[in-house]
């Protein structure tokens, strides 16, 4: 069996911006090869929580453990170096640039021509094409712009990029919220593939059926607090939907069964 210690563990996280308490004691643990869905209505604190996990914000109080060690992530770069990659809903890729330039952005492969360092497009493109094939995207040309891909394909490219560069924890911010049914199913399949590789996926959504399709664990956030965590099979669509809107304790729901 896999080791039982969580990859990332957040305990009793508080975050306030001035007088506004965005998070009021949130605890969550992320395990290898597990898709952990974070559900909540708009304003529940989902985006604040993922920004803490990805190092954009630092918690006001509470503890973050990565691989069992207490850690304070000072910035996104530090999070990336610790194996935490975040794919933001619309900030993932640059539509005017080619798929290849996007994929390698910030980590370009280079080679030397005499004293001059240039990008190694041949190598970049061939690795890109094989990675895209693995994840099920038919690219006509590595130089075609990201803008020519569908929304679902863009999400998939962004996920493939994060995993290729060694993400152990992949945070997906509303990856399906702007997509149609067909594209959503493709993205969910990609999430499935990535999880099978042993990557921990944090799937943020307010769409319960998308979450149920891929999730192993479900944590519901409401008004900056966690209402509890349930395993797949322990909870159904109506209960999750009810919690997101009705703000009831998970335990109370379970007991009522």
């Amino acid at each position: 069996m896999m080791s039982t210690s969580p990859l990332m563990e957040l305990t009793d996280i508080y975050k306030s911006f001035g007088n506004v308490n965005a998070l009021k004691g949130v605890s969550i643990s992320i395990n290898r090869g597990e898709c952990h869905c974070l559900l909540g209505d708009n304003g529940a604190g989902k985006s604040t929580l993922i920004k803490i996990m990805s190092g954009v914000h630092q918690p006001t109080a509470g503890q973050v453990n990565i691989n069992g060690k207490p850690t304070v992530l000072q910035g996104p770069r530090e999070a990336i170096d610790s194996g935490i990659a975040t794919v933001y809903q619309d900030l993932a890729l640059i539509p005017l640039m080619s798929v290849s330039r996007n994929f390698w952005l910030g980590r370009e492969l280079t080679k030397k021509i005499g004293p001059i360092t240039v990008m190694d497009f041949e190598k970049c493109n061939s690795i890109l094409m094989s990675e895209m094939e693995k994840i099920g995207i038919q690219l006509r040309d590595p130089n075609q712009s990201i803008g020519t891909l569908s929304g679902g394909e863009r999400q998939t490219v962004a996920i493939a990029r994060a995993v290729f560069f060694g993400a152990e924890i992949l945070i997906l911010d509303e990856p399906t919220s702007a997509l149609g049914v067909y594209q959503t199913s493709n993205v969910l399949k990609t999430v499935e593939k990535v999880r099978e590789k042993g990557v921990a996926v944090v799937f943020i959504s307010h769409n319960v059926s998308h979450a149920l399709a891929v999730g192993d664990k479900f944590t519901v956030l409401s008004r900056g607090e966690t209402l509890g965590t349930a395993l797949a099979g322990e909870i159904n669509y109506e209960e999750l939907q009810f919690m997101m809107s009705g703000n009831k304790e998970l335990s109370a729901l379970k007991n009522s069964k």
Binding site: P76, I80, L91, A92, I94, L96, M97, L105
Partner: protein, 368 residues
């Protein structure tokens, strides 16, 4: 049957890719412009060696500032202070060499250092305040022009400072900006009777074109440097990304602020190259030099297919835009068209280019 369909779709994909080249419009534009003037002006001497030098030099001037403006625009920023920077750098060279008696090479290097520092300052203010560079550089358009006139008048009581050629003649650095290369070759060509010589005056017997001006060499060098940097290096990838979506680029770890500031520095460098070539060639600096150059640079870049919003464009396109600019401006002179009409043409061309670019942008990003 299926092979046929596949072929057709390949051909369509090919044409769609060609359509998406940022410089396609400028390539077609250059061909049309040359075709037009070849038809209407072939007997005016416009395409003789001397005539070609005429529009070639004007185009080179536009190219020098367009390359800087192009990379900066792709990085998502503008610099409206380019024209004022040209006047400012020229006066710095003139005041330090003529009034203060510095050697010309030191004056030139000082002008570069001062101008590039101001470029860095404009960039720094832009990225730190998050204000549009349009406004920040507009402020510097006035600040630099005002300082230029003030320094010229305070030090010499004139706005034109002349007499630099006396000092620049034996300087080691000045010829790099004001000299001519292949002079020997042109003299030899004249001796062979292959190019014309002056028949009268002080220059009688000398070839009408005595060499390739340094300005043209600079223009070519900057095109090669800019194109290489943008398309072949990882820094070029960061330039595209900084202009395409600065926030997304930051998330992935691209040093967006550094990229943008460096591009402001490069624009200032190009403006100073322009200023220095003019000072060395004319032997004088004038406080009003460079007026409207910032717009001419931006127009060349836009005709070259770059998007005003950043993230997309081509150095080759910008250079072709500059050539269209230079050829039309001088060509209208050759065919004797009232020169004020050039501005009308330019305005129309700019409008058409922007509309075309916006359409291409929609094709690329897939937005309707």
């Amino acid at each position: 049957m299926s092979i046929n369909i596949k072929n057709i779709s390949h051909i369509r994909a090919y044409f769609k890719n060609a359509m998406l080249r940022p410089d396609l419009g400028a390539i077609v534009g250059v061909m049309l412009v040359f075709l037009f003037f070849f038809l209407v002006a072939h007997d005016t001497g416009m395409f003789s060696l001397e005539g070609s030098m005429n529009w070639g030099i004007v185009s080179s001037q536009f190219i020098i500032i367009a390359v800087g403006a192009c990379l900066l625009m792709i990085a998502g920023e503008f610099d409206l202070s380019v024209g004022s920077m040209i006047g400012f750098s020229g006066i710095v060279i003139a005041v330090t060499s003529i009034v203060w008696g510095w050697p010309v090479w030191l004056s030139i290097l000082t002008a570069f250092a001062v101008a590039m520092s101001i470029g860095a300052l404009i960039g720094y203010i832009t990225v730190k305040t998050n204000l549009p560079s349009f406004i920040v550089s507009l402020a510097f358009l006035y600040i630099l022009r005002g300082l230029t006139i003030f320094i010229a008048i305070a030090s010499t009581k004139k706005t034109i400072i002349g007499g630099i050629n006396e000092f620049s003649q034996n300087d080691w650095l000045a010829p790099i900006f004001g000299g001519k290369i292949f002079s020997g070759l042109f003299e030899w060509l004249a001796e062979q009777g292959w190019i014309q010589t002056f028949v009268a005056g002080t220059k009688a017997g000398q070839p009408v074109v005595s060499g390739i001006p340094a300005m043209m060499v600079w223009a070519l060098g900057l095109i090669i440097f800019g194109h290489f940097l943008l398309t072949k290096t990882r820094f070029g990838n960061w330039i595209y990304a900084s202009g395409g979506d600065a926030q997304a680029a930051r998330h992935i770890g691209v040093p967006v602020n550094k990229v943008k500031i460096l591009m402001f520095v490069f624009t200032a460098f190009c403006a100073t190259v322009f200023a220095t070539t003019q000072v060395i060639e004319f032997g004088s600096a004038s406080a009003d030099r460079g007026i409207l150059k910032e717009f001419e640079a931006i127009i060349s870049v836009v005709i070259g297919g770059a998007l005003l919003t950043g993230g997309y464009g081509s150095v080759i396109g910008a250079a072709l835009g500059a050539i269209i600019f230079g050829v039309v401006q001088q060509g209208l002179f050759f065919i004797g068209v009232e020169s004020s009409l050039f501005r009308v043409f330019l305005g129309v061309l700019l409008l058409l280019a922007v509309i075309l670019n916006t359409h291409v942008r929609k094709l690329i990003t897939g937005s309707k």
